[in-house]
């Protein structure tokens, strides 16, 4: 009996305050759009980081003629076969061998060709392959083990330099993290906006139905029965807004990420539509809690016993 009354009051309230309900739907939609996007952005950044981390390698540059006067380890001239075999032995059989997945040797000719490809001012063209040493390109089980490799071979004769490719991506990761934090901050502001608007809406709704709630109080209705229709009104509007947000995020991921970015930049993994479905229940739950808690806090004051 009371369920019918509560539902009738709830939907009656939504009908009478359609404009206010629409504003709650829209503000929840926008705030949940930001919350969902922030969550997905976070996931995307993690994917890119893991993807790049699995691909980056450590480069061990062996001495060439050009390094002789610049690097102490290269004082004896270009790397000899013996020096290279000691270096390779440390990597393949030494204490760091457990961290090494694969070693690819780039010969000085191949390395020179690579440098030539990227030389736009002609400085490389004026030198020869003999000026450069070969490069050992090492893939590690975990990129964070770079320091162990540097310690193990950095001081050996014939090693000009040891570099971590991950350093080249540090700036990219920093930018991505800033963007993620920015989207989370924006989502927080939108949530605050939603709380304020829902508070105002519920307050106006309660004031416009003061006659009903006064009568309900006078005839002995419980506070729960008086407040529940208002809370349900807020929750229904918020759920509609959240559903709208999920639909738009889903469409956005399908159209922008799956059908456009995936073909545009092919070297990273992307979030996909199922990821949206994974966060959808959380977005809906957040919207319901947002509306219900805000309503509860507001109604304590405006529909007192």
């Amino acid at each position: 009996m009371r369920l019918r009354l509560i539902l009738s009051e709830t939907f009656g309230g939504l009908r009478r305050n359609a404009t206010m309900a629409a504003s709650v739907v829209l503000v929840t939609f926008v705030s949940m759009l930001f919350v969902g996007s922030a969550l997905l952005a976070q996931q995307q950044v993690t994917l890119i980081e893991e993807d790049i981390a699995s691909q980056v390698e450590v480069d061990v540059y062996l001495c060439g003629e050009v390094d002789t006067t610049l690097v102490a380890n290269c004082a004896g001239g270009g790397v000899t076969d013996e020096q290279e075999s000691v270096i390779t032995d440390v990597l393949e059989n030494g204490v760091v061998s457990d961290y090494v997945v694969d070693i690819v040797r780039v010969s000085r000719e191949e390395f020179y060709a690579l440098l030539l490809d990227h030389d736009t001012i002609g400085v490389i063209a004026s030198s020869s392959a003999e000026d450069f040493g070969p490069v050992l390109r090492i893939q590690l089980t975990d990129p964070s083990y770079f320091a162990y490799i540097e310690d193990a071979v950095g001081g050996l004769d014939g090693v000009a330099d040891v570099t971590d490719q991950a350093d080249a991506f540090a700036a990219l990761f920093a930018v991505l993290r800033v963007l993620t934090i920015g989207s989370i901050a924006l989502a927080a502001v939108m949530l605050l906006t939603a709380v304020l608007l829902i508070t105002t809406t519920i307050r106006l709704s309660a004031l416009s139905r003061r006659r009903e709630t006064t009568i309900m109080r006078m005839v002995g209705a419980s506070t729960f029965v008086i407040q529940l229709p208002f809370m349900l009104e807020g929750a229904i509007a918020a759920v509609l807004g959240a559903l709208l947000a999920v639909v738009v995020i889903y469409a956005g991921v399908v159209m922008v990420v799956e059908e456009w970015m995936r073909d545009l930049v092919t070297w990273v993994d992307y979030i996909s539509a199922p990821d949206v479905l994974m966060i959808a229940p959380w977005i809906l739950l957040a919207a319901v809690l947002l509306a219900a808690l805000t309503s509860f806090a507001t109604l304590r004051r405006y529909t007192r016993a």
Binding site: I215, G220, V225
Partner: protein
């Protein structure tokens, strides 16, 4: 049924109290007029009985409950034992006569079958049979007040509190409402009515409790009331 024990009520510090050390005993089945000019404390007394307000000092007991001590969650239970009628009727304009009365039962969880039985009975008691489908704006003032009385009494509470129920009605219609309240009182219901309508008080010859400036100045069986000149 109702005990007001040395009750004082001050709304704001430094102001004159709305009620000052008032004690009243009202028994089951009594019909009591609370009289006095505006600001004498009549409405405050009714609000204390309904737990709309709490006393600054003293104790209020209604229908076996220590009203100023019960927790908030027990207030709805208290109010189901009290019917309340107001000067401004307080009807819901979008609901029919039947629905206005049924609303009082719906919100306390009565079953539809009980509502369909109780509402026509009470509408017949207040003389509104045949007008169930009318809306408040289609009724006269007297009929609207009868709907309000029906709504207050449909749950058969042992106490009926009426705050100036004839204040918006002409003398002839007021008599009709008073007859209705008298009939309800004869079913054993305690009726407490705040009014400053001396004609009605003098016609009914019931117990009269007079307040002035928040103090009880008279409690008289079969009493009369003479309004002050400035009212």
């Amino acid at each position: 049924m109702i005990t007001i024990d040395r009750v004082s009520k001050t709304y704001a510090a430094g102001h004159q109290p709305a009620l000052d050390d008032v004690s009243i005993q009202i028994d089951r089945g009594d019909f009591v007029f609370l009289v006095g000019s505006s600001g004498s404390g009549k409405s405050t007394l009714l609000k204390l009985m309904l737990r709309e307000e709490r006393p600054s000092r003293g104790d209020v007991f209604v229908a076996g409950r220590h009203v100023n001590k019960i927790p908030n969650w027990r207030v709805p239970g208290l109010r189901r034992d009290i019917g309340a009628v107001f000067q401004d009727f307080r009807l819901l304009p979008g609901k029919t006569v039947f629905d206005n009365v049924a609303f009082a039962l719906e919100v306390i969880g009565k079953r539809r079958h009980d509502i369909n039985t109780s509402v026509p009975e009470i509408l017949e008691l207040v003389g509104l049979e045949g007008k169930e489908r009318r809306y408040p704006h289609e009724l006269s003032g007297g009929e609207q007040q009868r709907v309000a009385v029906a709504r207050a009494f449909v749950n058969r509470p042992p106490i009926l509190l009426c705050d100036e129920p004839t204040g918006n009605l002409d003398p002839v219609t007021s008599v009709g409402i008073m007859r209705l309240l008298d009939r309800i009182n004869k079913t054993g219901t305690t009726v407490v009515m705040a009014t400053h309508d001396d004609e009605i008080v003098n016609q009914m010859r019931k117990r009269v409790i007079e307040l002035r400036g928040g103090e009880l100045i008279r409690d008289q069986v079969d009493g009369t009331y003479v309004r002050e000149a400035d009212e």
